[in-house]
């Protein structure tokens, strides 16, 4: 566990390095720096040597067109082809282009940033796990007992289906199982990988709003694209007293807004939970460095306390990582199930969801 805690530091140090040149230790800069994206993946500082994985910067400038180069060329505030990383201001930490007339603009930035790279890496893990298990089955007979990855995936898939998908989606569950399973394993692997503090992990992918936005958007599309007639009728002509919907469409309006608030809640819930968990762990680790100036005795005792709390938080985060994947999948399933209920009355749906 101590290895885990110690290795949180390189990641945080990367954030600190980006943040500024000030001498003193700034916990705020460090913690916020962890959540900022960057153009390289800081692996660690070994002695005096900083080791980073420099990722490709992909840009489209309105003036000069497409550019693709290594982020090493922008390291340390350097400028390359007029591009540099803004040290401050509106575009702080992002690549900006200084045009010939001296004005600073932000080009269209499709760079493979640290978060994007971690995202692709984690996606590859998800693919390898599921396709590896599927391959195992394709090669063997069903009478054979699955081992290793196949056994794990078989158990996991069956558990998610039995506990999450079947009870929430209802009769049509087979149609939506691949989507919900993909969402579950995608979030789960990203959450777990973000808790591993050293190189291939440690990037808070699911604590990034862009990532959760796409996930929620996918749920939104699936919910509404496959929604039945009863679902749409319930939104635009719900069974309420007529005066609530005729002159002023009050309830239909609320229902319509509800279409968007459901996935919005999904997006914010996952993002905020992962962000908060990481922030808590980072802050607890920062306590060690903040108390350095308060003398050896206080620093030593606070180190012990913060380590204990950090261990606890890490354990909690493992639970949260699973729980958030579970909740996202379950709620997506519930919303899909609600949209699927064809002509069945609402009380039946409630009954089903209780089960």
């Amino acid at each position: 566990m101590s290895a885990v805690l110690v290795s949180v530091l390189p990641v945080s140090a990367a954030g600190g390095g980006d943040a500024g040149q000030e001498e003193g230790f700034s916990a705020k800069e460090l913690v916020l720096g962890h959540f900022e994206d960057s153009y390289w993946w800081h692996i660690g500082t070994f002695g005096q040597k900083e080791v980073s994985l420099y990722l490709p910067v992909i840009l489209h400038s309105p003036a000069t067109g497409w550019h693709c180069f290594s982020s090493r060329k922008l390291c340390g505030g350097a400028s390359y082809l007029g591009f540099s990383i803004a040290p401050e201001g509106k575009y702080e930490g992002k690549v900006v282009e200084t045009l010939s007339d001296g004005s600073v603009v932000r080009p269209f930035d499709l760079s493979l940033t640290r978060t994007a790279a971690a995202l692709l890496f984690n996606s590859a893990i998800v693919l390898a796990m599921v396709l590896g298990a599927a391959r195992w089955y394709r090669r063997r007979k069903i009478t054979e007992t699955p081992r290793g990855l196949a056994a794990l995936m078989e158990w996991a898939v069956e558990t998610v289906e039995e506990d999450l998908i079947k009870p929430t989606v209802g009769e049509n569950w087979r149609r939506f199982a691949p989507f919900l399973l993909t969402v579950f394993f995608f979030i789960l692997i990203n959450n777990f990988m973000s808790l591993i503090p050293f190189f291939p992990g440690g990037v808070n992918v699911t604590g990034n709003i862009a990532v959760t936005f796409v996930l929620a958007l996918a749920s939104f599309i699936v919910i509404n694209l496959f929604g039945g007639r009863a679902y749409w009728k319930d939104i635009f002509w719900p069974e309420v007293p007529a005066w609530l919907k005729v002159p002023v469409p009050l309830i239909p309006l609320i229902e319509f807004v509800g279409i968007f608030t459901k996935p919005f809640a999904l997006m914010i819930r996952l993002f905020a939970n992962m962000l908060a968990g990481h922030a808590a762990i980072m802050c607890l680790i920062c306590v060690i460095f903040v108390t350095v100036s308060m003398g050896a005795a206080i620093n030593a005792s606070m180190t012990v306390v913060s380590l204990l709390f950090a261990v606890f938080m890490n354990a909690l985060e493992v639970l949260v990582a699973f729980l958030q994947a579970y909740v996202f999948t379950m709620l997506s399933g519930v919303f899909i199930g609600l949209a699927q209920e064809g002509n069945v009355k609402k009380d039946k749906i409630v009954e089903k969801n209780k089960n």
Binding site: T115, A116, L119, A134, Y137, I142, E161, I209, A210, A218
Partner: protein, 171 residues
């Protein structure tokens, strides 16, 4: 606020990544696992059913076997009983025959003994008669020395003979 603002670049990366992952898993990943799960479930169900069927059949066989065993037991006891009966019968028959034979032998022995004794008696009577005749001859010879007495006797004898003739006629 910066944290709540999705980066367009990352949005695009995420969309691509998620679509690729979803596309591949929905096509090659989960359906294969799902199929296997379904097949295995079916296989387990059918195996259980077969096992139950086999058990049922075994139980049927056992009851059948029990029946056969009981039948055999019954036959055995019947055979034993009939054997005992036959033995009894044979014994009884033999005993009866032995008894009859014995009786027959005894009867024969008795008959021959009686014949023998009758013959002996007859022989004895014959000898007694001869002796008596001889004695009476001697007696008569001694007594019939005078003629008068001879005539008297002859006359008495004649009258006796006539008497017995008359008796025979009357009969």
């Amino acid at each position: 606020m910066g944290m709540l603002q999705p980066e367009p670049g990352l949005l695009i990366w995420m969309t691509i990544a998620f679509l690729i992952v979803f596309g591949l898993l929905a096509r090659f990943g989960f359906p294969a696992i799902q199929k296997t799960l379904d097949e295995r479930r079916k296989y387990i169900d059918s195996s259980l059913e077969e096992a139950a069927e086999a058990r049922r059949r075994l139980e049927g066989l056992q009851t059948e076997m029990e029946g056969v065993r009981q039948e055999a037991q019954k036959q055995k006891s019947e055979i034993l009983k009939s054997a005992a009966d036959a033995r009894e019968k044979i014994l009884a028959e033999a005993r009866q025959r032995a008894g009859e034979e014995g009786e027959r032998i005894v009867a024969a022995a008795r008959l021959s003994a009686r014949n023998e004794s009758e013959a002996i008696i007859r022989e004895a009577r014959h000898q007694v008669a001869q002796l008596a005749i001889a004695v009476s001859e001697r007696l008569l010879r001694g007594r019939l020395e005078d003629t008068q007495e001879q005539t008297a006797l002859a006359e008495r004898l004649l009258s006796e003979i006539e008497q017995s003739k008359a008796d025979n006629k009357e009969v």
